[in-house]
Symmetry: C2
Subunit: 377 residues, 2 copies
């Protein structure tokens, strides 16, 4: 089973599709739970399977530093190492180098940085980022891009964009050379459109990447502090230029009420730490909005987290019990909350796919916004 992507149905700009990978079919649009260090925090793989996750994201930066990509390669690749037989996407490590590491120094060659774990010095180049991901054996690999702080001035954005394109070309060449040398690699490589909050740069970046020719395209450097309207505007600028027969990935989003909006702009793939991180901080997502479960109002509440939810946590445990576990600092609290929140996100995606099929995504999207407009309960 190789790679294939097809759009099955559209609803205005939104697309209902199907991504075939060597590790199974992934229905689109989809959301990827984040398994930074080869584990979605608090969920066994069995739980992810029960939840219907068809693909997860793992972080190249973290796995390169620990346990090391050569170890993972030696043990048969990431799927075998972590015993996950469904699809995996790895990021390029670029974003983490820029946000986590110390003493980073960027040149045309690549980015030199110190590990946040032990201070050791490393050089990440476009070729190296590709090589690491080939060793990990993920189904989808991302090219190394230059991430910049926001808000970014035009000149800095322009030079980062230029470098991102150069790096993308080098990464693509390296990847194709490996493919020629080793035969059919079981990996797809995606480019990443940058350009900060400037529409002209976003278009320029997209056009340059289209020339390089990737099987899929990501929109990077968004949802990093700019207003949501700007995120949407930039995303729309890019998706308008991208080929209809290739998947589009908006990186690092989003809030529950925003997911359907991004899909409406033509996005097929998303990832975010929000459902898992919020769960560990006792913030639960429900069909009626956010629930801050540590609130005293839930102390005697025998209802499930979300009476409309069918997850195994809502079928069995009460708000009162969840509140107690969080108040008592029991780490089973995070297990149960994470399970529910990931179910909530994956269920949103199921509802979105159905909405597209029935041509009423706009209605679904506005209902979600209304439910989350009131703030947490």
């Amino acid at each position: 089973m190789g790679f294939h992507f097809e759009v099955l149905k559209t609803d205005s700009k939104a697309r209902r599709g199907r991504l075939t990978t060597p590790h199974g079919i992934v229905e689109t649009p989809f959301f990827m739970p984040v398994g930074t260090q080869a584990s979605v925090k608090g969920l066994r793989n069995e739980a992810l399977e029960e939840l219907g996750a068809e693909i997860i994201l793992a972080n190249t930066y973290h796995l390169y530093l620990r346990p090391g990509h050569e170890l993972v390669r030696k043990l048969g690749g990431l799927h075998k190492f972590m015993s996950w037989n469904r699809a995996i996407l790895t990021d390029s490590g670029g974003f983490q180098v820029f946000s986590l590491s110390e003493l980073r120094k960027i040149t045309d060659e690549g980015v030199r940085f110190r590990s946040h774990i032990d201070g050791s010095e490393h050089l990440l180049t476009p070729e190296r980022a590709s090589e690491i991901q080939l060793a990990l054996g993920s189904d989808i690999a991302m090219v190394l891009d230059e991430c910049i702080e926001t808000p970014a001035p035009r000149d800095k954005t322009k030079s980062a964009l230029k470098r991102t394109t150069q790096w993308a070309r080098r990464a693509r060449n390296h990847f194709l050379e490996q493919q020629d040398r080793n035969g059919d690699l079981k990996q797809w490589q995606f480019g990443i459109v940058q350009g900060a909050t400037f529409a002209d740069f976003r278009r320029e970046s997209a056009c340059q990447l289209l020339e390089i020719n990737f099987p899929g395209y990501a929109v990077g450097g968004l949802a990093v502090g700019e207003p949501h309207e700007v995120t949407c505007e930039m995303t729309a600028e890019v998706t308008a230029l991208l080929p209809e027969n290739r998947p589009r990935y908006l990186m690092g989003v989003g809030k529950p009420e925003q997911i359907a909006e991004y899909v409406a702009l033509g996005i097929d793939m998303m990832d975010c730490v929000l459902p898992t991180r919020a769960a560990r901080h006792a913030c639960l997502y429900t069909s009626q909005g956010r629930v801050l479960i540590k609130n005293a109002r839930y102390a005697e509440d025998q209802n499930p987290i979300d009476p409309q939810c069918h997850c195994s946590v809502c079928r069995r445990y009460s708000r009162a019990y969840l509140r107690h576990l969080f108040a008592a600092g029991e780490f089973t609290a995070a297990i149960l909350a994470t399970h529910h929140n990931v179910h909530f996100y994956l269920d949103i995606m199921r509802q979105i796919r159905e909405a597209i099929e029935f041509g009423n995504l706009a209605k679904f999207s506005s209902e979600m916004r209304a439910k989350y407009a009131a703030g947490p309960a």
Copy 2:
């Protein structure tokens, strides 16, 4: 379904029995995973059920302070509160008051102490400890006893023993009054034999409790620092005096290699935080001894934690992956390790029950000691 205990088979002093409770049958000898705050740390109830746990222990001291026994009563009792429909034993809170709380002051009335959570002042009396456990609605409740530091001098042991007997009588009277008033209470109350490391005091304590007449008896205040031989000697002194048709509970034990020894002394019930606590510290129990999984020797080890183990963790995940999760500080590590260790303990109990049925417990016990004599790997 009320309460019933029967011994089905004996092997020297060891007993293979069956305890019937309102929340199901518990095969004896059994080991109780510890769910201090109404949760076995790191395991969903679904996991405990998969592991075959027929009974768990919860801590009265913790649940009294948080969320409070009246809240639990109001929400339908501990079984309903935590959604666990199998048997539960609650301790009296005595041991935790002595080991966790501050400023405790013991009088004949009871023990006055400050909460380790918020410093609030509380008075725990034998009647109160019984009342709290009735509110929790556990299947088996323990009487309040006076716990003392070890090694203890004879005079201090004698006065604590005297008070423990007085408290046991008051607790029993209170319990029986409640039973008369409310009809058939769905709870059994056990007495606790004290007497530190003095055989004569142990015998005296046992005889005094037998006069009060409990449906089951515990041996308390052991495995708190004294040599293992002394633990065994004291246990043997007590079990020799206890009636054969009532269950015997050795509190707070034990190490994997000691479990069968205690059973050989006539013990039917045990509990210990060791399997769950050790798991969180990356110490795994296996059929070949302890495995300290963070050790570098496991970095590339693709074997399961224990090749002879049939738990769902060993069926799927490698030592290399477990080691990585612990090294990376991923909390999924503790989930997987806890699952395995609890399986290991419950499986030891299954093997012990089978060994008694076949009359070869002594052989099983010496094999376990030999495997664990070598120290951790």
